[in-house]
Amino acid sequence: MFDPKLYSRNPDVAWRLIEGQAVLVHNREGEIEVLNELGSYLWGHAGEPLDGLAGNISQDFDVTKEQALQDSEEFYQALVASGALQPVKGK
């Protein structure tokens, strides 16, 4: 189970919300990621409890809470893999 408290946004990743979509610039690697609406929502709330986020997503995106939870976990794991999220120091 992904624990959002253990991860924070990587300070080496510059990002802004542009026209409702998060644009992530990995300064060290040079990669750029453009997140979709759902991904931008999750990125904007990184570090917050998944349960609450999944509840909001299930309401706003017309999916079950279980599905929202699974999608959110997968999304955050992908951000960990890309280096956009990193382990919180000391945890």
Partner: protein, 357 residues
């Protein structure tokens, strides 16, 4: 449907969301380049016109921090720190760290001469998105003839080595002049040896105070043609340039510029002040300035201006800021861009004619 970065930036530009900002930290420079637009430093050169005297003190560090806060709040993603030579600013590191804390993708425009190993270490700790370094020649004599500083080329080469060793991203930028046009292949070889891309620009800008002396350095037709031949250097766009179209010039819409004195301009070339951050919040200037509104209008008209302005329109770019500075008319195509378009068209035609049927 997935949105590409280019589509997103185009949409943002249409909605006047500034994605790119350029901040001139200082006009002070340790070089005195003969083709430079900065009229403050004219070491070893006859001054044309009066030395510009700023009407106010440069922004204090606290004012700069406030500016960074405002740029962040407005959603600026890429922030370029330039000059003059930005590393000569006495609070350069404080500014860089404050900017990093605010989540910008930082571009540092420098001549590289001040980058010693300890400086490269510190840059690496902070982690800017890239450094964009001017390269003036392939030989000491040519580079020094342009920079007017003994040892400038070697100090820049050493800096490239330090930055490469630390894995920092570097883009080299070369303004093509009559002094270095014979060394472009050598410049490319240097960039290849470090594994850094180089981008050539054959357009020289007037001095910021509208003097034409930098144009004395313009390259020849043949020097420019070399850039565009398929067996020549065949240059591409830098990662921050787009082909003609919606994003080729985002002046006053996707781009803004701040001088060391807090004046907000549509871009580095469009020299009119839209307001000063000491007098009004940046967002208010951005949303209400007639100068910025005019810049946006000109940018929107650009495809038509180019189409109607030259038969070589398919190859032509336009810089309304340079046109404004040179002719007082941002809609008039500038002579150097027309010349480059003509040369590109000629190269294209001669290469098409030489192709076997």
């Amino acid at each position: 449907m997935a949105t590409t970065l280019e589509e997103l930036f185009a949409k943002a530009t249409r909605n006047s969301h500034p994605i790119f900002a350029m901040f001139e930290l200082t006009y002070q420079c340790n070089f005195a380049c003969r083709h430079c637009y900065n009229p403050i430093e004219r070491k070893n050169q006859a001054r044309v016109g009066k030395k510009p005297v700023p009407s106010a003190a440069p922004l204090a560090f606290e004012e700069i921090v406030s500016l960074l806060d405002q740029l962040e709040e407005m959603g600026v993603l890429y922030l370029s720190l330039t000059g003059g030579e930005p590393l000569t600013h006495p609070r350069f590191w404080d500014i860089l760290e404050a900017a990093k804390e605010r989540g910008f993708a930082l571009r540092i425009f420098t001549n590289g001469a001040l980058i010693a190993p300890s400086i490269a270490d510190r840059l690496n700790e902070i982690g800017p998105h890239c450094l964009e370094i001017s390269i003036h020649g392939a030989t000491d004599s040519t580079a020094e003839a342009l920079s007017q500083v003994k040892g400038s080329h070697q100090s820049m080469l050493r800096a490239l080595g330090y930055l490469k060793d630390r894995g920092l991203r570097v883009y080299l930028k070369c303004t093509v002049t009559r002094l270095n046009e014979g060394e472009l292949e050598g410049i490319k070889a240097i960039s290849d040896s470090f594994g850094f891309p180089v981008f050539f620009d054959p357009v020289i800008t007037l001095s910021d105070d509208g003097q034409e002396y930098p144009l004395e350095m313009r390259a020849s037709d043949e020097g420019i043609a070399k850039l565009y031949r398929s067996d020549g250097l065949n240059i591409g766009n830098s990662p921050f340039e787009w082909e003609p179209g919606e994003l080729s010039c985002t002046v006053g819409a996707g781009t803004l510029h701040i001088t060391p004195y807090g004046d907000v301009q549509p871009c580095i070339q469009w020299k009119q002040s839209a307001g000063n951050i000491r007098e009004k919040p940046l967002r208010e200037i951005w949303s209400a300035s007639p100068i910025l509104e005019e810049a946006r209008r000109v940018a929107r008209e650009m495809p038509v201006l180019i189409k109607n302005g030259t038969r070589d329109h398919a190859f032509c770019r336009h810089c309304p800021g340079l046109s404004l500075l040179r002719y007082g008319d941002p809609r008039r195509l500038e002579e150097q861009y027309l010349r480059v378009a003509r040369i590109k068209a000629e190269v294209s035609q001669s290469e098409a004619a030489a192709k076997p049927e």
